[in-house]
Amino acid sequence: MFGNWFGSKWDWQIFCKSNLEDTRYPGCFGADGDITYLQWMISAWGWTLSVALLGLLLALVAGSLVGVARTVPNRALRLFGEAWTELFRNVPLLVQLFLWYFVAPKAIPGLQAVPSIVLVVCALGFFTSARVAEQVKAGIETLPTGQRNAGLAMGLTLSQTYRHVLLPVAFRIVIPPLTSEAMGIIKNSSVAFAVSISELTMFAMQAQEETSHGVEIYLAVTGLYFVSSIVVSRVAVLIERLVRVPGVAGAEAGR
């Protein structure tokens, strides 16, 4: 039943072919600079993971700063954080991507020479930073106000209070929601197809068109997305376990 898909036979051998004159390679790896669909897909997976990981890095750094800014006493900083979050949260990712890709290089002279992958990472990273900021802010706000007051009362400066009292606990609390952001950014990296980054979704669209074996191609690509998010969630559980402080909020819930 599964070998037959409404008349047209499934053909997994498609991955051993290259798009040049339908050449088939026995080992599924092309020669003389010619690459098979399998190789193309692996490199596309690499692009997906690179874009997502770099974007996540940017999102964590920017999102943490903005999230902290939203909890400090300084009104201007709080407003800035608020505005940042609303701005990046209320415009669709695809539109933000187009702004970075088509508009930013023309409007900001420094961005002209920048490779397109950086622009995609910026779009993905800043979009996600708004969501990270929201989580970080929520994490800080769940801590009892006594924590902050105690830090300040002991003579720590505000930044010391954040550095040594609030953030160590807040970051541990937000690991689970940040994990789903990390899994989300892998999924969201698929919008990069729209600006022709050769990542998994782009590969799926092009290979589907070239081979008309869409089902096999899509199944493989979907499988790779699955694997990627499972790996991310495993790594997150590992991190959570590694940094756990016994007796501190979240530790009991951490299984």
Partner: protein, 223 residues
């Protein structure tokens, strides 16, 4: 060299010729997927909480699968599969409507599940005690409360859904974003149209989320 921006070409004609058609599609798609998604999502949530193994498993596999695939891939999957199943090509608009309804159901179902679980068990037992059937308990006692508890979250998800409709770009359906892109191509002013597109999306989503925020406060006072 800085590019100069000129927005003077935006006039009533451009809006009516390019933008409105896309706006109506995006809004329509959002409403269809919201209504259909919440209905199907509620069924999935009930299945998942039913305690009957096959139903639980079925709902869990459906929800978890869709939630771990990028929406763009889901859009592509349905655009590929539906014609294979029904034997003829289906327009991008209809394909998008089916895809978004089925996809959003997975997300709405998780919200509804949390909502149903937020209603104390005693409510259900009280319903049984006065002689109601399971269906009556759910319909008359639990679901209305669950729905109200979750209303802000459901609406926030709908704002995300509205933003996500821009992803029909992948199959070339004519939505709000496509309207702006086409206008930009026609007037040869792509950059300005992207900026205006972002502004329009921002205004719509920001005002909706402000409304949700106010609703959330009002519900909090009542409870």
């Amino acid at each position: 060299m800085m590019a100069t921006f000129d927005f003077s070409f935006f006039d009533a004609h451009l809006v009516s010729a390019f933008i409105l058609k896309g706006l109506w599609f995006s809004l329509g798609l959002t409403i269809i997927a919201m209504v259909g998604g919440i209905a199907l999502g509620t069924v999935l949530a009930l299945m998942r909480l039913s305690g009957r193994r096959p139903l639980v498993l079925l709902a869990a596999v459906y929800v978890d699968t869709l939630r771990s695939i990028p929406l763009v891939m889901v859009i592509l999957w349905f655009f590929l599969l539906i014609p294979m199943l029904i034997g003829r090509p289906l327009g991008t608009e209809l394909s998008a409507a089916i895809t978004f309804t089925l996809f959003e159901a997975a997300y709405y179902s998780e919200i509804m599940r949390a909502g149903i679980q937020s209603v104390p068990r005693g409510q259900m037992n009280a319903g049984y005690a006065v002689g109601m059937t399971y269906a009556q308990c759910m319909q008359l006692v639990v679901l209305p409360q669950a729905f109200r508890n979750m209303l802000p979250v459901l609406l926030t998800q709908t704002i995300i859904l509205f933003q996500d409709t821009s992803l029909v770009y992948a199959i070339g359906a004519y939505d709000l974003l496509k309207g702006f892109v086409s206008a930009g191509q026609n007037y040869n002013r792509p950059m300005e149209t992207y900026i205006v597109a972002a502004a329009v999306y921002f205004v719509i989503c920001f005002s909706l989320s402000m409304m949700v925020r106010r609703l959330r406060k009002r519900i909090q006072i009542i409870r």
